[in-house]
Amino acid sequence: MRVESAAYACRWRGVAPSAKALFALAGVVSAWIARSPAVLAALAALLVLAAVAGARVPLRTYLAVALPPLGFLLLSCLTMLVTPGVAAPGVATPGADGGWHWTAALLPVVTRTALRALAVLAALLGLVLSTPLPDLIGLLRRLRTPELLLDLMVLCYRMLFVFRQAWDEGVTAQRARLGYRSWRHAWRSMGLLIGQMAVQVWQRTAALQTAAEARALQGSLRFLPAVFPQAPRQNAYAVLAGSVLLALAVGDRL
């Protein structure tokens, strides 16, 4: 989990999550407002810069995290740039028999969509690569997210690591007994392991419930929110920086 470790290690770890979220929100809204490819590209660049230079997220980590969405972007844009032959009667093409061919008709839309996606992605990455998830959950708590949903998030986040460790240890133990010798063995081993861990879902649930009751559980899971004493000042900075992005975007619209 690269995002996870980057968030704990980055320079903006102690900055109020509300400030980082405000800045990311400004980035998203700006990208939605802006029209011209140049401004969208500039927004994306500024947001990447903020994460890499400001929060000091290692570039290698940044790229590794961005790679899968970029793959999706490439595939989807290519999809939009082909069109069925029959659907373009005005153009003389060899694909008129029902094959596929390139079309430039959607190129402006594709360019804008791609750049907008890059800018919004950069806003998201800037947020998640500098903010550990518990801080984000704390922010959602302040934003009055339903308690039950928050409980699910807190438990899910904690148990994620417990399960991941259990999974890794299980796979290692199976490998030690030749469980992944071949493709066929691998499937059988995985099925066994997932089944065993699915049963653990209930056992772990019972244990957690007991442990919570031992600590006087009163219904929902209550936790003390982390405090960020600098939050007002940091929020102000974030609003200021966000306004620059918004100004760029609004200027593009005018």
Binding site: Y8, V154, R158, A211, A214, L221, R222, F223, L224, A226
Partner: protein, 359 residues
């Protein structure tokens, strides 16, 4: 010689009876802080967890619940914390029966904290501070108080400054301490720990015993379960011996370990320190009297024997010994020995009682 519990008993007890009476005599005067009276527990699947288990815990003492795996130690702990309800017999707090209503249970769990064995199964939040705040918040305390308690609890377990860390970045020993902090933050009068030493190596065990001794010194009643008779003897004031769902012996540590039948019934042997001391006392190497609590304390006692002590053979006419002390000293020395040995043993005890733990 004084059993530690004896002081607490009514002052009119004749002094002569004190040495043999053990702590249970002392408990007769004041009710025990916590008590199981003939508690039965049958689980939902029909298996018996406890069979007429009776047990009394004196206030402010260090108790060890000793027994093999499956003897019912965890079941007892869960009864004490109100997680399980006896299917027969009753539970007492300060002489009053447990109340199992919501308010009664919340009150009980504020007073009697329970730390489970496996940290992965009792930490809910991935952030240290958040998890520790869970208990105090459930008690309905305000934010400032909770924050202060969380800080104090983390400090007590030696994790001050770890509040913002992620639980999954901690070591096993640290996770275990977070669990303890989560209970300490509720400021319980009794701290129950299920097999706290499991999975810890020697230095980590020393740290944890030091922490527990510190709590006991501040008046917290501590009860831990263990299957290690040597550890129980070295650490505890009182030992409660369990086997097959029954509490088969209970009392001051140095009394319980002398009950060979009960130990055997619980699948335990004698503590090594006791057995060694007995063997050495029989041979006059160490003095009679209370045995040191651990092999280390016994070793100390051996090393602290006067230098002339290797001694007894030398005192006899033996050519190789000629360079040593002259013969006339012999008798005096031999007579002195018991008295010289005694302070060693007392020191072992004092050392032990002061809260430092023999490794």
């Amino acid at each position: 010689m004084n059993t530690p519990g004896a002081n607490r008993s009514a002052s009119s007890v004749p002094a002569s009876s004190v040495p043999t009476s053990s702590a249970s005599a002392a408990l007769a005067a004041v009710p025990a802080l916590l008590e199981l009276q003939a508690v039965e527990h049958v689980f939902a699947d029909g298996s018996a967890g406890l069979r007429g288990c009776s047990l009394a815990l004196g206030r402010g003492r260090r108790h060890a619940l000793l027994g093999p795996n499956g003897a019912g130690k965890t079941t007892v702990l869960q009864h004490l914390n109100g997680l399980l309800r006896p299917t027969g017999g009753r539970m007492l707090w300060n002489g009053r029966p447990y109340e199992y209503g919501r308010a009664g249970l919340t009150d009980l769990r504020r007073r009697v904290g329970l730390v489970f064995q496996n940290p992965e199964r009792q930490l809910f939040s991935a952030q240290v501070e958040e998890d520790v705040s869970f208990g105090p918040l459930n008690l309905g305390l305000d934010e400032t108080t909770v924050r202060a308690r969380v800080a104090a609890a983390l400090d007590a377990v030696g994790l001050a400054g770890f509040g913002a860390r992620a639980v999954h970045h901690l070591s096993f020993g640290q996770k275990k301490r977070v669990c303890i902090a989560g209970v300490l933050a509720m400021q319980p009068e009794v701290l129950l720990l299920d097999e706290p030493m499991a999975g810890l190596d020697a230095p980590m065990q020393r740290e944890l015993t030091a922490l527990l001794d510190g709590l006991a010194a501040r008046g917290v009643t501590v009860l831990l379960s263990t299957h290690d008779v040597d550890f129980a003897y070295a650490w505890a004031d009182d030992i409660h011996l369990m086997a097959a769902g029954r509490c088969i012996a209970s009392g001051a540590a140095h009394d319980v370990v002398l009950q060979a039948d009960a130990l055997q019934a619980a699948g335990q042997r004698q503590p090594a320190a006791l057995a060694l001391h007995a063997a050495l006392a029989a041979r006059g190497v160490l003095a009679d009297g209370p045995a040191p609590r651990s092999v280390d304390a016994l070793l100390e006692a051996l090393h602290a024997l006067p230098a002339a002590s290797p001694a007894q053979p030398l005192a006899c006419p033996e050519p190789a010994a000629q360079r040593h002390a002259p013969a006339p000293q012999t008798q005096e020395q031999t007579q002195n020995q018991p008295q010289q040995g005694q302070p060693q043993d007392r020191q072992g005890h004092a050392h032990h009682r002061s809260g430092e733990t023999p490794a």
